[in-house]
């Protein structure tokens, strides 16, 4: 990634999926407006006008619709796109409806075939024929990249493909070094930055060091906030791990601890951390978008 003084300021997509990590009551009270692509696209562009430089999103029909709107408005090339895959919630829900993991695998295979993406289909067939999980992973990643490009257009500036925390943390727990190596190599070959969303930031850093994987090449997407919310095993351990990274690899998420903290105090905490590459923050109103990104720009990118 290389050292940089300017922080990447990203709009997060949680509000657009009607997610609140504070409480489901809060998400319900917001109503459905936030999930409308036109409204969400407008919030993203307002954030961009006030200092945001990109959009971090889970790849779902909701966020792809938002990208289509931004693309149609001719603004897509301004945004750095950080795509999180897979959108675990959607796949878990689908698995419950189509008969578990095997049913899900069948549905996904069908979707990949219907996408007519030759590279993804070829890689998928290779994976099935050889019982090769790496080829299947590549087929899936090509399929998701194709979905993003189809919705966001050729001018889209896809910067990073970030593995969802469920996959990252499961692979960390199982010590699957070969999986991380294959993912990093493959994503770099595609000209993108490999990303890892995790709720166990110190584990990720320590395992990468242990496996001699180059931390310079990746972004880590992990919760960092004054309240220590979602920072495992502890706030202090996460801060120590951050200090130990050779480069600013971290894109901090949950910086407002899901609305538990006031923006000003939350951003002050982030501004004083070392090795921060950027932040991703969700916004739910035009005024939030303006105020939050103005504040982030002022305090992080003076």
């Amino acid at each position: 990634m290389g050292s940089q003084s300017r922080k990447t300021l990203l709009v997060g997509d949680n509000p657009f999926h009607n997610i609140s990590h504070l409480s489901q009551d809060r998400a319900r009270s917001r109503g459905a407006t936030l999930t409308y692509p036109e409204y969400a696209a407008k919030l993203i562009m307002t954030s961009f006008e006030n200092g945001a430089s990109g959009f971090m999103f889970s790849v779902s029909e909701t966020t792809l619709s938002i990208l289509r709107v931004v693309h149609e408005k001719g603004e897509i090339q301004h945004l750095g796109l950080y795509a999180i895959v897979p959108y675990a919630y959607e796949y878990v829900k689908l698995a419950t409806q189509v008969g578990g993991i095997l049913g899900l695998a069948k549905k996904l295979s069908k979707d990949i075939l219907l996408s007519r993406n030759v590279s993804a289909i070829t890689m998928g067939l290779k994976g099935i024929a050889r019982t090769d999980p790496i080829s299947l992973m590549k087929a899936y990643l090509l399929y998701e990249i194709n979905r993003i490009r189809y919705s966001a257009g050729k001018q889209a500036n896809l910067r990073s493909l970030v593995l969802h925390e469920m996959i990252t943390d499961m692979a960390l727990a199982l010590n699957l070094d070969w999986f991380f190596k294959s993912y990093v190599d493959y994503i770099l070959n595609l000209g993108l930055t490999p990303g890892f969303n995790t709720c166990n930031f110190p584990w990720l850093v320590n395992k990468f060091k242990e496996w001699n994987l180059d931390l310079h090449n990746i972004v880590a997407v992990a919760p960092f906030n004054q309240a220590g919310f979602l920072m495992n095993p502890s706030k202090m351990d996460c801060e120590k791990a951050l200090e130990s990274t050779p480069e600013p690899i971290l894109i901090a998420i949950s910086i407002l601890a899901a609305g538990y903290l006031k923006p000003s105090e939350a951003i002050d905490y982030i501004a004083n951390l070392p090795n921060i590459n950027g932040v991703a923050v969700g916004v739910s109103k035009e005024s939030h978008a303006r105020e939050t990104f103005k504040l982030l720009k002022e305090k992080l990118n003076r």
Partner: protein, 302 residues
């Protein structure tokens, strides 16, 4: 690892090089296993757990909720565990969630005085958009065993033994499907409670369980996100997960998974009792049987 599907076994073998893959429970015998987790669909819990004891695979067994498909099966497993096993536990995850633990603590300290009534709910949107006639809800075993069991387990944990006094079931997705359930309970001291359970609710992106417990001195309201105490003297407090020390040494999906696993493993290592045990969990199966019987008396499915 024991897995029936040969395709899944082949892929898992590639992912976990050093793990032996088996296609039948009886083949686990002789491997000198310290413990076994049963994570199969609910209808097979009984036969798998029974085989584990009878084939002398292990004396320590963890079964995902619900323990069995009926109270009769649950009682048989309790007897087997008592005669052939040592540690047994059922995966009622919410007992390890910080908000419910806090509520349990408040109740055990008599924070709202003597409890006179409660209301419990368990809602999700899992099958809200399911096509009429789909078999998926039926194959999941019904909303009571899939989701409602958590609310029942918490009520039993908080309050103690309960008897069902009336019940209504609704089939919304297909004939014979158990999609929505309302039932009332009481205990020998005159305490009364009611349960609303549905997987066809709007705006429950994630499954949510909650209870409102009324005592002589106030009310405790608790769900997956927060615990609120409102006393008759006007004092009140709300605690979110943020304030309840929710961090864990390793996060995977939710912190309660870690705590649950730790409790079981520690119990196996120490030889100490694990809770919820088969016996405690069998009481949930008993309530579910009572609900289905009561609803049947009204000419409703099952």
């Amino acid at each position: 690892m024991c897995e029936k599907s040969s395709i899944t076994r082949r892929f898992l073998k590639k992912v976990f090089n050093d793990v032996q893959m088996i296609d039948g429970v009886e083949k686990l015998a002789g491997l000198d296993l310290d413990a076994v987790y049963v994570t199969t669909p609910i209808p097979s819990h009984f036969s798998v757990a029974k085989a584990l004891y009878e084939c002398k695979v292990t004396q320590n067994v963890f079964v995902e909720k619900t323990l069995a498909w009926s109270y009769e099966e649950a009682k048989e497993l309790c007897d087997l565990a008592h005669s052939l096993g040592i540690i047994n536990m059922v995966g009622y995850l919410r007992r390890f969630c910080v908000t419910f633990r806090k509520a349990k603590d408040l109740l055990s300290r008599n924070a709202v005085g003597g409890v006179s009534s409660f209301k419990a709910f368990a809602y999700s949107s899992d099958f809200l958009k399911t096509m009429r006639g789909s078999r998926a809800p039926i194959s999941r075993g019904g909303v009571l065993r899939d989701l409602g069991c958590h609310a029942i387990d918490l009520a039993l944990w908080f309050i103690g033994e309960l008897q069902v006094s009336s019940a209504k079931l609704k089939s919304l997705t297909a004939s014979g499907a158990e999609d929505s359930v309302f039932f009332r309970v009481k205990n020998s001291s005159g305490l009364e409670g009611e349960f609303c359970v549905s997987w066809n609710m709007r705006n429950y992106r994630m499954p949510e369980v909650g209870l409102s417990i009324t005592g002589s001195q106030g009310v405790i309201e608790v769900n997956d996100d927060r615990v609120e105490l409102r006393l008759n003297n006007g004092k009140s407090s709300i605690l979110y997960r943020h304030a309840l020390n929710d961090n864990v040494p390793f996060w995977l999906g939710l912190p309660e998974y870690y705590r649950e696993d730790l409790h079981f493993v520690k119990s196996v290592l120490d030889g100490s009792n694990a809770e919820p045990s088969f016996y405690a969990a069998s009481k949930v199966d008993e309530i579910i049987d009572q609900v289905e019987r009561r609803a049947g008396e009204n000419g409703q499915p099952k």
